[in-house]
Symmetry: C2
Subunit: 201 residues, 2 copies
Amino acid sequence: MDVRTLTLGVLTHGAMTGYDIKKCVEENFRDVVSASYGSIYPALADLAAAGHVTVTSVEQEKRPDKKVYAITPAGHERLVSDLVATEPRHRVRSEFLVLMCFAHLLPTATVDAAIDSISAYWRRILEEDIEACEAEGLGPNGTPLTPGMRFALGYGRTVVTAAQAYIVRHRGTLLRELAEAANATNPMPSHDQAAHDRAAE
Amino acid sequence: MDVRTLTLGVLTHGAMTGYDIKKCVEENFRDVVSASYGSIYPALADLAAAGHVTVTSVEQEKRPDKKVYAITPAGHERLVSDLVATEPRHRVRSEFLVLMCFAHLLPTATVDAAIDSISAYWRRILEEDIEACEAEGLGPNGTPLTPGMRFALGYGRTVVTAAQAYIVRHRGTLLRELAEAANATNPMPSHDQAAHDRAAE
DNA sequence: ACGCGCATGTAACTGGTTACATGATTGC
DNA sequence: GCAATCATGTAACCAGTTACATGCGCGT
């Protein structure tokens, strides 16, 4: 997704500085897109040159001027046509799952730590990004949630909840299977536990 | 995730050409990582130079030679340490969800089409990438599934199923709310003066 | 005194993709 | 005859991030 489109999108929730836009994206969309200053500022310059946003220098006491950007009617049109032209992809890039696929090559502690860390990550998303937002009912810039945002939040909640439940339920199985496979391939020399296990099969 | 690590990983399932590696990644990991020739071939050159893979030119009748790459013990060590050093991230980048967040700005047909398309996408993943793989029990290069792969496949199945169920259940609500909101804001269509005023604050 | 929040910007880097060049074989 | 599969590679391009440069005010 083009940063310009995203920028126009958040500007529909009110006029903002580049700094605000980044905060806004971080607070509301960090789990599905990203935007850094290095992309936002050039995007704003671009949009301003095209007349899709206006810039207003606001003098501040005790601080340098800030530039407040607002979307124009032309910008709004562009936003809509950009959004309509956006193919609705949804990609996952997961080092975690790749790690799991190669779990049989790794120390148990690493696998365990990876599962802990992803679990914590999801808990954080659920609590901080989803439930907090649903509870207060406010989106970008203190604006009320749109139906689409409620839909997206609900989507996130069900998916993250399902993912969390899955790993809680299957972590033990994975670790046990991993241990069994390791035993079968690599039986420990003293007290041949593996032989005992094989006999018990 | 570094393409080199991924490459070493798939090579644990047997010696392969660069071409094979790409196919292998596409068939088994396309939903969580990506790798193109433009990254695989340089990666192989790199790994060969470091002694982490060996290259064997295989003469073929009726075809030019092919280079078969195999992982070395040193490569295996490197793979493990790379994997251990990999932080287990899991990121979603979703144009679809952003689109949903701005659904109130879009024609209903666009929103509808986006939901259809993502639904079809998930169905395809579920059927072609997950269930097919679980059913035949085979992973990269015809190798049996490792415990971690079964875990990852199960994860994918539950998450995709949950996502699919969510949109089936909530699509109607979203569309209805969108229509209501449109009616409330825009009974007699004129330019959105209110929004412009808000922006000008 | 130090770091954080506010605020704007740029330059270098990066990790990749796209598209191309090349070419034979097999199947429709 | 055309597309697809096999097979290797390179160069140009791209959208983004990281890190830096700059600087004031506020709280601790």
